[in-house]
Symmetry: C2
Subunit: 1018 residues, 2 copies
């Protein structure tokens, strides 16, 4: 570790291991992985010393073995698929004057290993003295070529350091590798004892070697070839003797090179490696294919391979880089993570992104929803070609998804929760196959791609079929059942007795399984159904022949399309009216809260310490489903709901999943919880570099790596892409000087450069047919971006809106209420005076009546109470009818007029049911932009909803709003809404500015106080 407690010194472009530390070996094997989306090599030392898990992986190259169940049942996933650890071609064992070069012996004089993120190269430089005192300097460069998918190369240079040396290098391909045995951790995979890959052919000759391996069940085969070139620094140099050998032991092919190096001279052996598989070639072509590749690589030489690599890496950073000013740790984490994503993503249309990329065997190399929900946004907006390829993988397994749906008794297509080849491989269905949401996740990503790229080719390639078949699954899976009391208020679509329910599924949260109406699942299914109906509509309008073709292929009836729309319109979204929050599912809020206080930290992750029945029984989350839903489908929630949801669910989230912190960070950013957003972001940005979860040895956390980009772009830059419109709302953490990135959008590039004070948006139409102008939104305002005309927007605080309470701020209706209650009390023969009236302030109508009855020692049956309360309202409304502009409180009209003149919006946020009539009678309607009345909110003050609803409706960020209130609950509500609060009255606490009365209010003072609060004390 370096002195600041970090494993690697902070450097924007380099990950450097500055000294050899055996205890870091397994971790560094992952960290120094090189891969190109097809071929991955863990960072094992070529010489073989200090190896924990040597790994070489080919994306999508797997074997199948039957899953053994304790007790099986119909429809269970039949086979396990395992991405194979294939023949190891990294091997180059150096012997120096008869002593093996091994850092476990002798003396290390200097040591440095660096992954260069700007070059895509791994470099190791060691000076070492052998046990017998022979000194050698070794410099090894390794490339897994981004330009040539099957090719890797290792340049191994040995210098004699003050002594002449006899050296030997055995360069081999070793086939006797195996996948690791599993441990009792479901995140890794279960032990498989049988050998899954056998070496069926090996050959060596001259500087060449070759090995063929094959699987018994999937019949996949690969040829791994190597060849070499060498040179002495001294030109011709001493003689080089080579021996090649194909051995049964170790199933290896090797080339042994022996030579002498004079002191001060050096010798370079360059190894060219190729892996070709039956995924791309016929089996009989493998050997020639692999030989051809290594020959070609040797022909161009290592330097050219290096140049190609740098070119590819530069191209990547040109569109993918995110610059974070002022935080080196973040900057390094961001670059490392983005580069690792590039390394991990398949790009041949037949592979995806394994949960751990090509860096390890965790999760058996399976593809999950991680690709679509976490990884794809990054590629869609920076490398659309890779995004397209990843989506084509899903199109390729559509037939298998159809077969799975049929097996599960459903129509349409059901994508597997985890798979490599396309078949469902979940050995534990409650947290696997039950996650039907995978279907909608895929369509969600496809929709996002189609919108950002404007490329419709994928639709004709099977995309349309996929959208229709997944929608079919939902329409068949769900059930039409009677409306229940606990639905979200105001469902969209026509009224009626039936709603669409989706029962017995598991959402992303794996600490809650087999539930009814998981909010994430239902919202995503709604999107899937709506997307299918909308696509059918568009095709019918624009490409009727294409719709016809697809409909004939999949026997699609018009009624189905209508059913999709109806199911989407009437989708049931569980909601808790009392708390005003989304319910994670029908039952979640009826469970007890997990004992967070009583369960010690070492019992986390819970899944390793508690039986699933225990975990499922409580309100405790692995993944925060509601928060994820409000990030992905933010347009289906009000800001007030989002705040309440986050406030409720975030404390229930354990941090046991690497997929959560980025989502929590985005949600926190949106709600202005900047510190929290930063804290969660830190965990995702440096998850692997800092080994936050302690298991980086098992491989990358690809979803968390992509989550870094999501946190930056969706979180701190506030980017959203709902309904095909890009919008931004940048909010930088205090420590950052700036945030810069670019997005590919409809062929063009939009660059965004934000500081705390301003943001600049710039459009580059790119080379080809990129859009020349794009309309985006910044904080709710439209901006037309045109090439060559950067849009510069201030982020400084600015008072844009003032939101007034009604009673006690604009007018004093308290007197009218007193008189109405007095009349009722007289009728009931209950004594009533102004002092008792004080007890009714801020109390609802029915509750007020109950207080009065209690005061008078009387009781009424409930219906009569309702009638009396109604009568009181009648009396009050009679009095309201007497209101005139005279009743405006002092200074208010002047303030409203001044605000209007300055272009500052004016809203009233009131929980009074008579607000409209009062405003009308006060004759101030023409200076009020917006009235939020109780019918528009679920929770009254001190919940901030009434103020947040006003800001939402006017599309003004809360930081640029002020609220004026005369009641404590109102001040608290304004504060919770993160607005500038103005308190009228001397007994209020916590207001940003307190005044004795409305007469003291003026625009000038308000602007002054607002500015000093926002810049100075804020």
């Amino acid at each position: 570790m370096s002195s600041d407690g970090r494993a690697y010194p902070l450097d924007a472009w380099r990950i450097t291991e500055g000294r050899f530390d055996r205890s870091m070996a397994s971790r560094n094997e992952t960290i120094f992985t090189l891969a190109n989306g097809n071929l991955g090599m863990r960072g094992n030392f070529e010489e073989g010393f200090c190896t924990v898990s040597r790994g070489t992986y080919i994306n999508g190259f797997y074997e199948e073995t039957p899953i053994v169940y304790g007790e099986t049942a119909f429809g269970y996933a039949k086979n396990r698929q395992v991405m194979l650890n294939v023949a190891d071609a990294k091997v180059m064992r150096l012997t120096v004057d008869g002593e093996p070069f091994d850092l476990g012996s002798g003396t290390i004089l200097s040591y440095e290993r660096t992954l260069d993120l700007s070059r895509g190269e791994l470099l190791r430089e060691v000076r070492w003295s052998s046990p017998a005192g022979r000194r050698v300097a070794v410099r090894i460069r390794r490339i897994v070529s981004l330009a040539r998918r099957d090719t890797a190369a290792i340049d191994y240079e040995v210098a004699a350091d003050g002594n002449d040396l006899q050296i030997e290098i055995v360069s081999a391909i070793e086939g006797s590798v195996e996948n690791q045995a599993g441990r009792d951790d479901p995140r890794i995979g279960t032990r498989s004892n049988s050998r899954m890959l056998t070496t069926i052919f090996r050959e060596a000759g001259g500087l060449d070697g070759l090995l063929v391996q094959k699987t018994p069940v999937t019949h996949m085969a690969l040829a791994c070839a190597m060849t070499h070139s060498y040179a002495h620094s001294s030109g011709a140099g001493p003689q080089v003797r080579t021996v090649s050998r194909a051995a049964d032991a170790g199933e290896s092919a090797s080339v042994t090179v022996r030579t002498e190096i004079a002191s001060g001279d050096s010798f370079r052996l360059t190894k060219f490696i190729s892996y070709r598989t039956t995924k791309e070639l016929a089996e009989e072509g493998l050997v020639d294919g692999a030989r051809g590749s290594v020959e070609e690589a040797r022909a161009v030489g290592f330097t050219v391979l290096e140049e190609e690599q740098v070119r590819e890496v530069r191209r990547f950073w040109a569109s993918a880089d995110v610059e974070v000013g002022g935080d080196e740790a973040i900057q390094q984490g961001v670059r490392y993570n983005l580069f690792s994503l590039l390394q991990s993503a398949g790009r041949d249309g037949r592979t995806s992104v394994a949960a751990k990329g090509l860096s390890g065997e965790g999760y058996e190399g399976h593809y999950f929803w991680d690709t679509e929900i976490y990884v794809l946004p990054f590629f869609i907006y920076t490398q659309p070609e890779i995004a397209r390829s990843l989506l084509r993988y899903r199109l390729g397994i559509l037939d298998k998804a159809r077969a799975r749906a049929a097996e599960m008794g459903q129509k349409g297509a059901l994508f597997p929760w985890r798979t490599i080849g396309g078949e469902e491989c979940s050995p534990y269905y409650p947290a696997g196959s039950a996650q039907y949401h995978i279907n909608a996740d895929i369509v969600f990503a496809l929709q996002k791609y189609l919108n950002a790229s404007a490329d419709r080719g994928l639709l004709a390639e099977g995309g349309a079929e996929m959208i229709f078949e997944t929608a079919r699954l939902w329409a068949d899976l769900g059930d039409w059942l009677p409306e229940r009391g606990d639905a979200r208020p105001k469902p969209s679509g026509a009224a009626g007795g039936l709603r669409f329910y989706i029962n017995e599924v598991t959402g992303p949260d794996e600490y809650t399984a087999l539930v009814n109406n998981n909010v994430y699942t239902n919202l995503m299914a709604e999107l899937n159904l709506r997307a299918a109906a909308a696509l059918a509509d568009r095709l019918r309008r624009e490409e009727p022949a294409e719709l016809d073709r697809v409909a004939r292929r999949i026997l699609l009836a018009d009624e189905e399309i209508e059913e999709w729309r109806r199911a989407a319109d009437r989708m049931y979204i569980p909601y808790d009216r009392e708390r005003g929050i989304a319910a994670q599912d029908d039952a979640f809020l009826h469970r007890a809260r997990w004992d967070f206080e009583g369960v010690p930290r070492d019992k986390y992750p819970l899944l390793l310490h508690f039986h699933p029945l225990v975990i499922y029984r409580y309100q405790v989350l692995k993944q925060p489903d509601v928060v994820l839903a409000q990030v992905l489908r933010g347009d289906r929630f009000t800001t007030a709901e989002k705040k309440r949801n986050f406030d409720y669910y975030d404390p229930l989230t354990t941090g046991d999943s690497s997929l959560s912190p980025c989502i929590q960070s985005v949600a926190a950013s949106e709600l202005g919880y900047v510190e929290k957003a930063y804290e969660y972001f830190m965990r995702t940005a440096r998850m692997d570099l800092d080994d936050v979860n302690g298991n980086v040895a098992d491989g990358f956390h690809c979803a968390a790596m992509a989550g870094t980009w999501i946190s930056l772009i969706y979180g701190f830059a506030g980017m959203r892409d709902y309904n095909g419109r890009l919008s931004f709302d940048p909010r930088l953490p205090k420590a950052w000087s700036h945030l810069r990135f670019a997005l590919r959008y409809r062929g063009a590039a939009i660059s965004v450069s934000a500081t705390k004070d301003e943001v600049v948006y710039d459009l580059d139409p790119g080379e080809a047919n990129g859009a020349a102008a794009v309309t985006i939104e910044h904080r709710g305002r439209e901006l037309l971006l045109e090439a060559g005309r950067p849009a510069r927007v201030s982020l400084l605080p600015l008072l844009e809106c003032v939101i007034f309470d009604l009673d006690g701020v604009i007018t004093d209706t308290a007197e009218l209420h007193f008189r109405a209650w007095k009349r009722i009390a007289d009728e009931l023969a209950i004594p009533f005076d102004r002092s008792f009236n004080e007890r009714l302030k801020g109390v609802g109508r029915l509750e007020s009546l109950e207080l009065i009855l209690e005061h008078g020692g009387k009781a009424l049956p409930h219906p009569e109470k309702l009638a009396v309360a109604e009568r009181k309202n009648g009396y009050y409304r009679e009095l309201v009818a007497t209101i005139t502009p005279e009743n405006l409180l002092p200074g208010i009209l002047e303030l409203l007029t001044a605000l209007e003149a300055s272009g500052i919006r004016r809203a009233i946020a009131s929980v009074s049911h008579n607000v409209w009539e009062v405003v009308e009678r006060l004759q101030i309607s023409r200076v009020i932009d917006l009235i939020v009345d109780p019918s528009r909110i679920a929770k009254g003050k001190p919940d901030p909803e009434v103020f947040m609803t006003a800001a939402d409706a006017l599309r003004i960020p809360p930081e640029n709003c002020a609220g004026i209130e005369d009641a404590q609950a109102g001040i608290d509500a304004i504060a919770a809404a993160r607005m500038f609060s103005v308190g009228i009255g001397s007994e209020l606490t916590g207001a940003d500015w307190t005044l004795p009365d409305t007469a003291s209010l003026s625009l000038e003072l308000l602007l002054e106080r607002f500015a000093s609060h926002r810049t100075g004390r804020g």
Copy 2:
């Protein structure tokens, strides 16, 4: 098969296979099983021909192997336990003049195999001609001794039939048997490939042989010994030569006997067998133990063993027999099932009843709740010694249950869902470990035993600890959460905001898993908690030192006891107010109904054709939890609720479980669904003899066998034992002439003999300190039974109660309602006349107002509607205040008076809220026994609840009630309540007797019509 399509001819005491049928071989291997609760032998032929599964089992003798999971998790059951198929000592291979005796060759001249239920013996008699034409008569008797737990004997007699014969009999113990491999059917068990039992020693000499086997993991060992005696019918006879041999091949010990038999003579070889195990002896004592047993058996001889057997069997039938007159098939099924239970039940205090007894390997020989809920009632009431022993098995594994609770993160003890040795062995926790109800099932059975036996010894032996520790589990498992709207009305206990909920469990119904508040689980947990609190109270009062001892042992605090009571009092029971039924769990009624119409019969059992996710998603049942709950805890439901529950849930029950029909039969009996009760009973009574489920080859269905007794005693005899009081309500199916049985109760015997016309209860105090008098109930009436004074009660129909509707039968309040509504309509300025008033008949108050408003084209806000409806009621009550006895309808007072004089009860069942006042003002209170008003019911007419509630309250069976009504809904309600219905008015349909007006009513006519209806047309 015999000519009537049955496999075995109907015979009250014998199961006979009349001809040799190879296709019946595997089925008969189970059917002709002999066992004694410790040692079981399938009905394989001694000679080994035609064997499908040869099986020999010792109760509780098992091996463990690790359970392999597709994906494992914390707390999963670790090991599988398998009851072992042990060394086969049945083997006796006969050779006749060099030809093997094999019914697959030669000619069968006659064949009969009989299981004699009155003797406990299996007899086979065969006359056979060999392929070479040698004729032989063979007679084989087999006994597994009920008097000697380790001993079996086979008497093998060979007669030369018209020719001299050279015979050889190889009598062996063969150790090379194995458990069957599993199939893909979770009801059987999963394949285990390793050999679980190895033969470690074999020995033979003279007429003796011996074999020792041992398991590698559980280290259980057994010694199986044999010895022989022989005799010629001709006295001394020809020479007998014997050879004994211990062979590695087949891991066998054998004795070969050769002799000659002259034509007409016969030769008997009698084999004595013993199995001794380390369950009872130290390993070093096994060999001597087994040898000693067989020597002893040989010393007494086969005839004495037979006599002992007959004595034991007679003793069993003396207390266990149930005589069903008039139905031979039932009688045979009943006897076979009860005898099989005797054979299956462990009685050493360390074993229980495997799901398939000792007859096969289905369910791996595991013990489930089947023992406590299904099997124990039979033993408790007929063989209390065996019941006691079965309960002691649970006490013996209490420590393991404590350890399991701790592993599951809970306090107290948690019994395993399936086990042999006491450890949880469920490989699929959603339908295994999640069935926490097993805890309460055990306590339920213990309570039942304690009450019926009055034996308290078990409490001191650990029973008290068990009741406390299981209660502890419930108290810790459940959660205190706020009251919800969907609770059952009128919870017992104090009012308050919190209820006790039990989340994330599975009830008995395995087609619904991992639910919240399963009604069966919660009701049984309530019982468990209450039993624990009550026990603590009793001990504190009566045996404070004992309470102290237990409390110190398990660190029991007084507060815990209070908590148990509170949890029981406030237990949440999910209820559907709209339907008026118990909800199986929180979510069940929010699922869609299974598509019973669309899914073909060959897709059942569903578990073999649909993924669990599909099954769990729907309202479809394997076990009917609600119906089971209302059978076991019938005192917690009203009869009306039971009827609605049964009507709702019975059609959802698939018949996929052998545990359901008996329960459905009992519930149907109670509700008077006699045909249905009989139909379900038939399936349970002859399940194995008729191979109803097609899998009898895998072994007995012990729970269904015991269900036969439950159906008879709890169903047709209507026995209940709630709260320690025996009650009866016999209702015989049409086909039966009588039903006779006896119950052991507190040391005495109560015999019950019922015909359709009468029932006789008789008490026999027995030999020892049996109760000399017992109070029982017959149809709600107490009966004091005294020794020597049989109580004889008529079952003929008898009018015991008349239940009157109020409006239109006793008085005409319709006019008053008209006048009140008229006044309201006038106030609202809406036209209203008598013709419109007709539309309001039978319509509730608020709905009536809505009709009037609609009629007048007016609308009112909801609270005002409530107020107006209240006002109407005020007007109506003013009018009610004017009612006098003059308003009684003609003939009513006379009828009420005549009924009173005849001792026939009089009730009013009205949905009018003013019924009490009206009755008061009519001055008929003194002749009315009971008024049921709307506050006491959940559903109005035509639901029968209001009438059933009246009958329930008066404790009169509905058949003995008449109801009088003037509205169609009322007539329908009376019919649904199965009462005699009297209709007043000419437009009514479906009434049993219709009159134009009340003036035509008279007691004389009513009695006449009732009698003719019940006896003649009924």
